[in-house]
Structures are given as C-alpha cells and as structure tokens.
Point group: C2
Chain length 410, copies 2
C-alpha cells in the first residue's frame, strides 16, 4: 500500500474529520456518527447534526480489502478516486441525479457527499412493489446524458483518450470479468445457487451457442472503450423517493460499452419481475406489477433514445455524426448490446456470487426456484436473440413469450 | 514544452552523445554522422565508424513540431517514448523482425537503434518490381505475434489495461483520425489529388452508403482497444533485403483494432498493384508482377492465420479462448476488418494528404489517373463488401473483378 497515511477511521475520528471541512457544519455543532454500510468494500458513515438544523452528510471510506473474505482479498484504494471523479463528472452532466460531492481525500480514500436519508434503495422499493412514476424519465435521461456526453460522439477525441487513462480500472473490471462473464458459465468455486435448479444450470454450462455469445459480450466489455460507464448500475446503486432518483456508487466506472449500463438497469427490473413469481401474491396483483415493470423497461428505453437523439442533434462534435443512417445504426447496436448485457447480468445473479435480495428474500427454495428458472430462461433468450431486436417492444415481447412458456404453461 | 533540457542535436553533438553510450563504439573510434531522414516529424542520423569495423547505428530524434509546416504544428515528443517502448515489446515478441534498441533518452526524445544500411525501404523495392520471397512469411508472423500476444487473448486483462495507458497516443491517433478517416471523404483543405480524377472523388463524397461504412470503421478505430498495433504499417515502415524484413517507426502505436495493421500492409501492396497500371511496362511483365502481389497478399493472410491459430492453441490465457467457434468467429471478423481498413488506406493515399511514391512516381497525370482510379475503385469495394468476405481468396477475387471492370474493359 503506497498511501502511508491511510488508516481506517473510527466514528470519533470521522466526526473530527468532518468538523474541519469548511462550510459543512457550524463550529460547535453536536455531531452524531453512525456506520450504516452494508457493502463489502467500503465503510459508510452518516453524520447528523444534533438539533433542529437536520443537516447530515455521508462519508464513504474505501477499505483496502474486501470485507466479505477478510483482509485476504486486497483491493485498490484508487477506486475511491475513480468514484469521486466519476460522481463529479456525472454531477456536471446530470445535476440532481447523483449525490453531490463535498470533499474528496485521496490519502484516506474517503469521499464526503450528500446524504440521501429521505431516499430508499430502489431494490427494496421494488421488492415492496412500490411504483416510481418518475424513475424511467430520470434513469433514461441519466443514461443518455452520461453515455453520450462522455463518448467520442461528444468529446474531443484527444480529451476522451485522456479520460480513458483517468478511469482505467483494472481491479474492479476484473471483478466484473470474473463474476459476470466467466464464473457463472462453468462449475466455478465462486458460484452459489439453489440446488433445485442445478439441472438448468448444467444445461447452461453445456450450451455451446450461449457460451459463444457470452464470450463475444465479454470481449466487447474488455475492448470497447465507448463511454464512461457507471459499471455497476443495478437497483442497489440507485436511491429513490416517489419523485426523485439518485444514482450512486460508481466505483466500477471505466470506459466500456454503453449497453452494459443500460442492460444493468433492465436486468435488475427483470430480476424483480421474475422474483414476483416466487412471492406469495394475488395473481392479479402480480400481473399488474409485472406489467408495470415491463412498461418501465419500455419507457426507460424510449426516454433514453429520445434524449440520446436530442443530444446527437445538438451536442455531437464528431463530424461524422451527421452521416445519413449512422445515428439509427448506432442506436440499434446499443439496443442489441443492452439486451445481451441484460441477459448476462440476470444469469450471474442466479448462478454466481452475489445474488439479489429480490429473489433471495423468497424463503421457500421451491418458490424461489420458480423465479430463478424464469430469470435464467429470460437471460438466455436475451443473449441469444439480441441481434434480432429492432425496437424495445421486441425485448418486452420476448420476456412475455418466455414467461408464457416457462411459467404460465405449468 | 515541459522537457527543459530538450534541444535539437547537431551532427557534432550526436557524435559526442553516441560516444558516451557504453558498448557501442571503441573510445577512440572515428565517427562520421549524417542526417539521412526524409520524414517530416523526426531527425534521423546514421553514425558510422570510419575504418574496417564497419560498425554503425541509427539515432532518431523526435522534433517538437511537424517539419512539413514549420514549427507551427506542434507535436508531442512523447511519441519517441511510445516508439522506443513499442520497439522493445516487438523485439521481445518478434526478435529479428524489428531494429534493436540500444538506448532511449526521454529528455532528448531520442532513440539509438540498429542500423539497417543493407536494407532498402520496401516501397522502393516494390516500385522497382523486386520480389521478396520471405516477406509474406515474415510480416504474417510479425502481425500474428504482435497482435495476438498484446491482446486480451494472451495477456492478463489487468496488465493489458496498464498497457492501454502506457500507449495512449492522442496526438498521433488524431493524425490518423483526420487524414485516413475524415478529410478524404469531404472537400477538406488538406486533400490533394490529381485534378483528372476529381469526378470520381466527388462521387465518393456523395456516396452515402460508403461514408456510413467509413464512419463505422472510424468508430472502431476510436473505441476498439484490441491489441497494441503498429498504427502506420505501410511499406515505407518496412525495410527489406531479399531474405530479411524489419518493421520500424511504430510511433503511431496504440491499442487499436488489429485489422488496421493487417489492412495497412494489404492496402500498400494493392496501391503498388494499381500503380503498375500507370508505369510504362510490358503487359505480360505487369500482369506477372500484379499476380505476384496478389499472391503475396494471400500468403500474408495464410501465414498470419496459421500463426495466429498456433498462438491461440498454445498461448491463450483467456479461459474462453477454447469456447467452440470463438476462434473461427474472431478470425473471420479480423479478415473483414482488414478488408475495410485496407480500403480506407487505399483511398486516403489518392484523395488525401500524403500520397505514396508508387503512384506519385508516374509523371504523366493521365497514366497516374489510371492507377488512381483503380485504387479508388478497389478501396471502395473493400469497404462496402468487407462483410461478405469469408476467406482471403474473396479479397483477391474482388480485386481481380474490379480491375477487370475498371481497366481491362477499357
């Protein structure tokens, strides 16, 4: 570790630290600090001013190892820099859609940022079948703006190359390369799955065509420096209220394929879609919520495409942006990539390390298996059929068709 | 300029400089220095020991500006670092196929390397219709080894990402982006062409489908960090004897699409092919030499593919390399990319800045136009039909077909 002054701060030290940052709290403020993190890679503290001001901030400090396996799995602190720098870029591109950064400390790998205590993690909201009428508009805009405006379409190509260097992120990319693209497709030690679906998973391990398509998607993840992507845009990286959306935790940011971010959002909505098959629910309530989710997927893409096309017209600096047919071709390839990456991200959450609570919260393994089987079936078809998709309706039709085959025919 | 001690060395200073490098010349050697460069971006000196030893070396010093337009076009000295570091990697991967590097001086942006005085620039050899029976074997091997062994197929993915950073090369990439992919396809000031072919060029400027395909190839050049490519692999960057081949000048190196290097070699053989239409030649001699060139193109690809497949079997570290069908799919995409980039590189040498002496050495503009028209016709078809190619014979058949249409029917 080259950061000689780095050490993990205690709650008391955090309070002293935050007090010294100008403009945050008054000098004599009574501050209360609480570790609220549930991640494995970072400490997250909330500091609240006692009294009527109600002021609060979040401090996130990166750990030099992954907590889940103790100190034996070292992990670069540079990810704190990447996260804070990505947040600052996203803030300037999409003000209001990410937490504000008040302070970044390189030595301590620590970021002080806006507290979102009135928001909840979107995944929890979806498990409770909440509806977020502004979410599609917000996330579609976030995707269009962050992806377009950091790409060669909008940036001077030389600036973009410097940003590729700034956001090179080998260690965190490796986590994705292993856990999303590699381990789930063979009998890897890291895999964890419901024994009841072992047969289906073994079919996947033996499915040559599927594995070839996964390989191509992995290759694109490794080589396609298209835009500064969030890199981990699941519904656990999004906080919501009924009217507000905040995207956070961009420590996996790097220059990668745009479809990886779009696919991540879609995959996590579809995982939630599948999970309701296993929750004890009134049939009609289930169908209505599943419809809501598919409508949201469609709306996200529609907002994304609309916003992306507006940027293409107004903000493209690449002289070829105006070449007849290029915009349509580009957006079609994005749609197809998004299907592919959504498929990968669905399957890894069922077969590999790190599942999602949407499905894990189903206690009965048999009921859970129902949702998991559906997720695997949809995931496979998204990967295999991605190049046949011409519009977002093709994705939702495919999901309905697979669900019909897998579940409704039972 | 941040390199405060940088200054352009005189021939006398060069002699003093080289004398201090241990192991090159004896202490009292009489050294003769001569500037032999004909490039626009660098000074190239040959230092010869007077007497019977016959020892000699080359010193290449990068200029902080492009000489062609005076000091008004500044250019990063970092390209000297990139060149020397690329040469060292290529030397370790392909010993004997690139000049040895004896010394690199960051401050002076200067590299001391093996002299190749017994070799000639391959372009000159081809203009003289020399044959190089080992060239296809050498360059096919060079391409396969440098491209495979610097890619994610062979390298640890984290090491590869560090190499992407090491070889980020914004300024020299910009030259390619402008001069190869952009300026030739509209009425840009930098363009220079034979007025006799203006009509054909205006057709290209108005050819929507062609420009869309060029745009896709440019996008791939901007975003596809596939391997450490040479970046400027024309026949002026290759020195040959009848039995030896040396690739030099990798100052445009960066992580880009493999097909760009393969296409560059093919394009320059095909430009030479076209030029013989304009040289006064016995018909049979012309046809025989053109056959030799097309056979060489085929042989290069065959050697490349064979060597690439051997490396795939023996040197792949990517666990997915063994996925059924991936190798064939990968190589087919390389072939199609190579056709596309070959097409771009042929057209830019006729329409844009910096022509090739193969064609420029034809004094009669009418005769030269004949070769230039053929080059543009072949270039266009290579770009437009690239995705129909399944084997290298499809490329050479296409060339023969276009030549038949363009020239033989006159």
């Amino acid at each position: 570790m080259s950061n000689s002054s780095y050490h993990v701060l205690s709650e008391l030290e955090i309070i002293e630290y935050v007090r010294k940052i100008p403009g945050l709290f008054s000098e004599n403020a009574q501050l209360i600090c609480k570790e609220i993190g549930d991640g494995n890679l970072n400490l997250v503290f909330r500091i609240i001013e006692n009294g009527s001001s109600g002021k609060s901030v979040i401090i996130k400090q990166a750990l030099p190892y992954a907590r889940v396996v103790g100190e034996s799995w070292p992990l670069t602190l540079d990810r704190a820099r990447i996260e804070s720098e990505a947040l600052m870029i996203q803030n300037s591109i999409c003000p209001g859609l990410v937490p504000k950064v008040y302070h970044y400390d390189k030595e301590l790998a620590l970021t002080v940022m806006e507290d979102l205590s009135s928001h909840i993690i979107m995944r929890k909201g979806l498990i409770s079948r909440n509806r977020y009428p502004y979410f599609a508009k917000h996330i579609g805009t976030f995707l269009a703006r962050t992806l377009f405006l950091t790409s060669d379409l909008a940036l001077d190509h030389q600036d973009k190359k410097q940003k590729v260097v700034q956001f090179i992120n080998p260690e965190l990319c490796k986590i994705t390369e292993d856990l999303v693209f590699t381990d789930p497709y063979y009998d890897a030690k890291t895999n964890q799955f419901n024994p009841l679906i072992k047969e289906v998973i073994e079919e996947i391990w033996g499915h040559g065509e599927l594995k070839l398509e996964i390989t191509k998607l992995k290759e694109k993840f490794l080589t396609h420096a298209q835009a500064l992507i969030h890199g981990d845009l699941h519904t656990g990286s999004i906080m919501v209220t009924e009217t507000d959306t905040k995207v956070f935790d961009p420590e996996f940011s790097f220059y990668g394929p745009m479809g990886f971010d779009i696919g991540a959002v879609i995959a996590n909505l579809l995982l939630n879609f599948c999970s309701h098959e296993g929750h004890t629910l009134d049939q009609e309530e289930r169908l209505q919520y599943q419809d809501y989710l598919l409508n949201t997927v469609e709306e996200i893409w529609i907002v994304f495409e609309e916003e992306f096309r507006i940027l293409w017209k107004g903000k493209a600096s690449e002289p070829y942006a105006s070449i007849q047919g290029y915009e349509d071709d580009y957006i079609l390839r994005l749609l197809q990539d998004s299907l592919g990456y959504a498929g990968c991200k669905m399957m890894r959450r069922v077969i590999g390390l790190a599942h999602v609570s949407d499905l894990e919260s189903i206690n009965d393994p048999k009921l859970r298996a129902k949702g998991e089987r559906l997720a695997l079936a949809i995931g496979q078809q998204l990967v295999l059929k991605r190049e046949t998709a011409q519009k977002i309706g093709d994705l939702t039709s495919l999901v309905r068709y697979v669900k019909n085959q897998e579940v409704d025919q039972d």
